[in-house]
Amino acid sequence: MTDKIRVGFEGDFQVKEIAITPGDPAPWDPSHTFSIVGTRVPRLDGKPKVTGEAKYSIDMRLPGMLYGRILRCPLAAATVTSVDLSAARKMPGVGAALAIAEPGEKIRYAGQEVAAVAAATPEQADDALAAIRVAYDPRPFVVGLEAARKPGAPLVFDGKAETKTSAGDVESGGKELARNGNVLGPRSSLKGNVEEGFKKADAVVEATYVTQVQTHTALETHGLVAQWDGDALTVWASTQGVFGVRDELAETLKIPVAKVRVLTEHMGGGFGAKFGARIEGLTAARLAREAGAPVKLFLDRKEEQLSTGNRPSSVQTVKAGATRDGKLTALQLTVYGDGGTNGGTGTSGPIKNIYACENLKVDEYDVFTNAGPSTAMRAPGHPQGAFALEATMDELARALGMDPLEFRLKNDPSAVRREEFRIGAEKIGWKAREARRQTPDPWIRRGVGVGAAVWYNTGDTGPRATVTIHRDGSAEVEHGVQDLGTGSRTMVAIVAAEELQLPLEKVSVSIGDTRMPYGPESGGSTTTPSSAPTIRRAAYQAKKELARAIARQWKVPADSVTVQDGVVSAPGDPKHSVPWAEACTLLPGQGVSATAERADNHEDAWKRFTTGAQFAEVEVDTATGKVRVDRVVAVHDCGVPINPLATESQIQGGVIQGLSYALYEDRVLDRQTGRMVNPNVESYKIAGAMDVPEIDVTLVSVWDGINNTNSVGIGEPATVATAAAIANAVSHAVGARIRQLPITPEVVLAAVKEAEEARAKGGRA
């Protein structure tokens, strides 16, 4: 079956004929009149969260439950020679103790797991942990990207590198790569011929940009509560994917998948770091089995900051050329990233996918160090890649004597993002930005900067949902997705209510349980575009079941009954037309239900990237180097937003995390010991209430027709451009390029000095 739909965005629509998967409704198109999609719906779990009733996994208390704790190695590199648990086992209240690292096993960073205990109270577990005796054979270690690259640096992996990727990683490689010392790579991509491209250029710029390691710092730490009942295991996990936790537990513990149940009712943030059972989850399950009692094992803040992942650092050298009329001729990126004991540090997403350029060369290297492993973090590689790319675009525009925004518009192949740039420019007052640079206070400068965002996912196949319509006219949705705080639960209810034409209070939603139909893991901004079309399809099919059941009652042909605008009728037959609620009373005892699996994406629809443009206005104190971000304008495409209220909240969050990354966050390791010196939230600074700017969010609806709800995710694109826009704004304010994150007062003062020296030589003002 094919259908003609309108795709595009306001002012740029086209008609496409697409193939519709049997059993799937055609995508909503711009002529559709919505009743609830697109309105601002307060989240359904608001009440339990504002009253403290919401039970997060960390809040679970079970009868006889023990508290688990993990012992970690204080050395940055060592070989474990012995683990003696005998004294710990005799401590009061102890129910189980086990070794995580066996003798002979190598420790690769300070904070790696060595052993664990479970005891009746948290205090007893602490005491028992102190009674574990571990002996180590220390080995040389290396921290810091530059030190690890040097010939003769201690090797983090003397054999094959044991790295892993996780859901949400983007372009993290996977092929067998060359390794030289601690350096893995390059992962290379090549398009056209960059040497030829640079020859054609009228201006070429080249510079190196440095970014720091950022930790996810979700407020609820990693962990789970594990309870065995015979050979069956139930866990309450803080996770971005209940099904992934289930599968890893089953595989590692060698029990059937069907015997493992994972629940996540409410969840205190993930940002990419919470996939799989992970070592603390497996440890909790093992402790619970040994103790014959439920075990709660959640990390404390120090452990969370040390060992659960991070956004790797980067040292990016970007070279770019363009012609006098402002067309890019060549782009080149060479990047080294410190991912600790993990790889996947590439940053090439933005340079490959934002601006059009025929000649592109990318070489990405992972550098192993004796530090906690990197893992996917909100738009992996992209905030750091966008920072370097967008600084380069500003530099090149300057070299050409062109307005930076005009230069971007000339090279941006995305009509949606060009529109976003234009909307944002008007809102921030781009044209008047030069006039605002000087302030009455000679020390204070203002600056305005811009950055572009790109993201990709339009959802994956695989998810399933069950929709049941009851005789009282209410409906129930079961879908094993989890809500990380993004509003997934509410999104599921809205889509079902829209398709069934029901008010929201008639729809109940159950999520966060592997006993339910499979829901997607929440990574890579895939949740909504994977779940929403699934829910709509299941609701659509449940509605068909309703029509069939009513047709039987009315003794009319099965396909002659329609459900439209809350009325069930057999068109052309006036005596057979009743409101929804009345029709439902005619249903058999348990109502009707349908389970559906998400249809494939319509690849024949309007292929595109998810886009965004952000503008920042900053005030810089050139005497102290302090930066204050006054305003951020964020213009984003979120497909057709299902709940603009939650979408805007998530964009607010992406901007604030981006600001925090741009100005404050920095994991610091002690070079003498290899230990992290700020595994906390007072010296690892994240943005607080005093730091946040006014954030102006605009959503541009895009009807791509790729899935039946035109939905895409906003989690990642919301944070891609912020640091870039802020860095460009600070550069604009001080008159010298910021090439390093975080933009601390020290970095600003160095830029101020550079600008003064350039001015003294008659350079840029």
């Binding site: 779990d45 504002v50 008010p503 607010q652 209430a689 946040v692």
Partner: protein, 238 residues
């Protein structure tokens, strides 16, 4: 770590090492502490008055107030994020003042009146502040929300019509990772009757269903684009 059993310095380590036995603990009633005297290191009886209810338990002196609330009493609305007074997630009201309950020992709270997030909605009826948090979407994952609300509640009690700056300052010690801050400020202004334009309309909230006309801002219309720009021009924003 092997030489730092609990993964380094925490409040509990500090108090375990230096304060055991030195706490003037009143194993008393709300009427006033009993004769102070040394307790510990073993468990000692304790009464805590939380949300007007007296809870009796026996805990070691090193147990913090938040641990007593969460692990002993089961009031898990109060969260622990940093364990050292840096994030405000464990904020409770002790005799009406905001306190980081990870920095107060359970025995120190004897004889004091403790209010937690669970005590706010009397009889299941949300306070205007709680309603405003929902309406303004001032929560995402919700893990900082209990502490945020209690800090804001304390602010509204001492300053019923706070300025935006005063709100910022009131929650300066409450960290949020999802980035709800601006919506928190909106929520407090809404609860104080200072603002109604942002967030979901109260009408939508009350009905929780199909939105009435007027709850939809022009930018929220799914068919945005040209419409947004025109509206912005009309409002002088563009």
């Amino acid at each position: 770590m092997s030489d730092e059993p609990r993964g380094g310095f925490t409040r509990r380590d500090l108090v375990r090492g230096s304060l055991v036995g030195a706490i003037a603990a009143g194993v008393g009633t709300k009427a006033g502490p009993a004769e102070p005297g040394p307790i510990g290191p073993g468990a000692a009886p304790l009464e805590l008055t939380v949300n007007g209810t007296v809870h009796r338990m026996s805990v070691e002196p090193r147990v913090t107030l938040v641990e007593a609330l969460r692990d002993r009493i089961g009031l898990t609305g109060t969260k622990v994020v940093c364990g050292r007074g840096a994030c405000g997630a464990c904020t409770v009201l002790v005799d009406g003042r905001t306190v980081c309950s990870c920095l107060m020992l359970a025995h120190e709270a004897t004889g004091k009146s403790i209010a937690t997030i669970e005590g706010l909605a009397a009889g299941g009826r949300l306070t205007p502040l709680q309603e405003a948090f929902i309406a303004a979407d001032a929560l995402q994952c919700g893990f900082c929300t209990s502490g945020m609300i209690l800090s804001c509640q304390a602010l509204l009690e001492r300053e019923p019509k706070p300025s935006r700056q005063a709100i910022r300052e009131a929650v300066a010690g409450n960290l949020c990772r999802c980035g709800t801050y601006n919506h928190v400020f909106d929520a407090v202004e809404r609860a104080a009757g200072l603002k109604t334009a942002q967030g979901a309309s109260p009408t939508v909230l009350a009905r929780s269903g199909l939105p009435p006309d007027g709850s939809r801002r022009i930018e929220d219309d799914p068919r945005v684009g040209k419409a947004i720009r025109e509206a912005m021009e009309e409002e002088g924003l563009a």
